[in-house]
Amino acid sequence: MSQFIKNSVACLSPVTKGNKYYYLWVGFLGILICFGAFYYIQQLRYGLIVTNMRDQVSWGLYISNFTFLVGVAAAAVLLVVPAYIYHFKPIHEIVLFGELMAVVAVTMCLMFVSIDMGRLDRAWHILPFIGMMHFPASMLAWDVVVLNGYLAINVIVTFYALYMMAHHKEFSFKPIYPIIILSIPWAIGIHTVTAFLYNGLPSRPFWNASILAPRFIAGALCSGPALMIIVFQIVRKVSDIKITNRALFKIAQLVAYAVGIDMFLEGCEIFKEFYSNSIHLAPMKYVYLGLDGNYNLVPWTWAAIIAIAIAFIIFLQKRTRENILLLNIGCVLIFFGVYIEKGMGCVVPGFIPGTLGEIYQYSPSFTEKAISAGVFAFGALFYTFLLKIAIPIYTGKLRFYKDEDADKVTA
């Protein structure tokens, strides 16, 4: 027991150490978190009235961020498949960081959902056995199951890997291999279920399209890996971890496919709605063209489309996507584009026009933005700390065994 505590302290101690940029970074995030926390306290005090959500648009920035981050979390699968199924070595070396990102993203998802709840004090009502979980009827109950399951899977996998690395010279993934394999469909599952959350509502024609789940997944496989490419470059710069360009380019290549599919699916949806021109076209019009003089999403939508299109061109050719500068520009464009398209661009038009035809042009309040920024800052800090713990173990600086008495776990 005391050994365990000692080891834990040893693991955690790197978190407190770093150069001045590290402290600046942590301090910056800390300020943002405090900022968000301050506004969240306001929200707890007055209620969700401090947001710009109203009965007409009852979900806003929080749920948009949630939706987007489910995608980021699901994107870990893009590393898991080449790493564990195809044993592609350059990716295998970084898959752990992708899984840690999934842990962080799911945590942020859960935070956004909690923040959006009117009665967080009653959250236990949703638990099975203890509360009255409406399973399997409610898609939200499914989402609770799959998200927490995904969190558990990734925590188990990453913890196992780090623990074994720290304690044994050699180890095998075999004991948790079934869980790793399970994480692949599960990752698809979290985004599918999240899409079904919207998809299953015939009251909202904008969401009630069967193409929604594939679109979500395609979008997820763009944004998550784009974020990873950028983050991994930072990681290899600030730590002595080796991440090869080959791994990044491989991810970029996969992203290119995903972007292509994403654009194709979006085109399909646009064609279906505009060509059939039924009364369900209204939300589509609101998003792409503006509806009766209401067009506050239109510039964002087109900015997202253009960003994704440019990124697609960059990622399509080997020559351009293997140019680090262009690669990074492409990643930023994709991240931005998908954030718009699968965030606010997906959630808000579901409510505009409302079920009784009313148009309420929602745009988030300052409080919503501040709280969201706080959650993103928390996520960044959490990931930073996780890397601070993981990297020394990964690079072999932190070991709980001496080389001579290293015990080998037979595969």
């Binding site: 007055y46 009235i49 401090v50 109203r54 009965d55 007409q56 648009v57 309420y360």
Partner: protein, 191 residues
């Protein structure tokens, strides 16, 4: 035999009582409803009509009234091209209305008169479907006479002032709520 004779009045009384305390309301499309609000009152001094009309000569010509009932004559808009006073009022008995077959009815049975032309509405009304609805959905229903709501001389409802529209979503804000500045319900308190 003797017992029966003795019990006769008692049975009769029971019968009368049971009729009185039995179901006071019969609903359905065919039966006439029985639970009414009081018929609308006449203006002071206007009823009985015979007070004035008893000695007056009857003028059977359709015309505009210029001395009495001017207001009624002026606002009269009940199929005005075809109708006039004596389609409903009775020249020989001013205190009664008459049906098209000549039967006289009191003002409190006006629905029989209206029902002659407005048959479908009459049928709905008997079923409890036309008109303002109060009472109990599974028990006694309060019926209103046609004239409780409609002016028989100008039956179409007048326009009324609507209650305030709902607030726009952007008008619903996190402002300070002061107890005695909470908006009042325009309909007032509950009774």
């Amino acid at each position: 035999m003797g017992i029966l004779r003795k019990a006769g009045p008692l049975l009769g009384l029971l019968l009368v009582l049971s009729l009185r305390i039995g179901p006071t309301i019969v609903y359905g499309a065919d039966a006439m409803p029985k639970l009414f609000v009081p018929a609308p009152p006449f203006a002071d001094g206007i009823f009985p009509c015979s007070d004035c009309h008893a000695d007056m000569e009857v003028n059977l010509h359709k015309r505009k009234l210029t001395e009495e009932h001017v207001k009624i004559s002026k606002e009269f808009s009940h199929a005005a091209d075809r109708q006039w006073c004596f389609n409903c009022h009775t020249p020989k008995n001013r205190d009664m209305l008459h049906l098209s077959d000549g039967r006289l009815i009191p003002f409190t049975k006006v629905e029989l008169l209206c029902g002659q032309c407005h048959g479908t509405i009459f049928r709905d009304w008997k079923a409890g479907v036309h008109g303002k609805r109060t009472g109990q959905w599974n028990g006694k229903k309060v019926y209103r006479h046609c004239t409780s709501c409609h002016n028989p001389h100008s039956p179409k409802f007048k326009k009324i002032t609507p209650m305030p529209p709902p607030m726009h979503p952007w008008q619903i804000t996190n402002h300070r709520i002061i107890k005695d500045q909470i908006p009042k319900n325009p309909l007032g308190n509950i009774q």
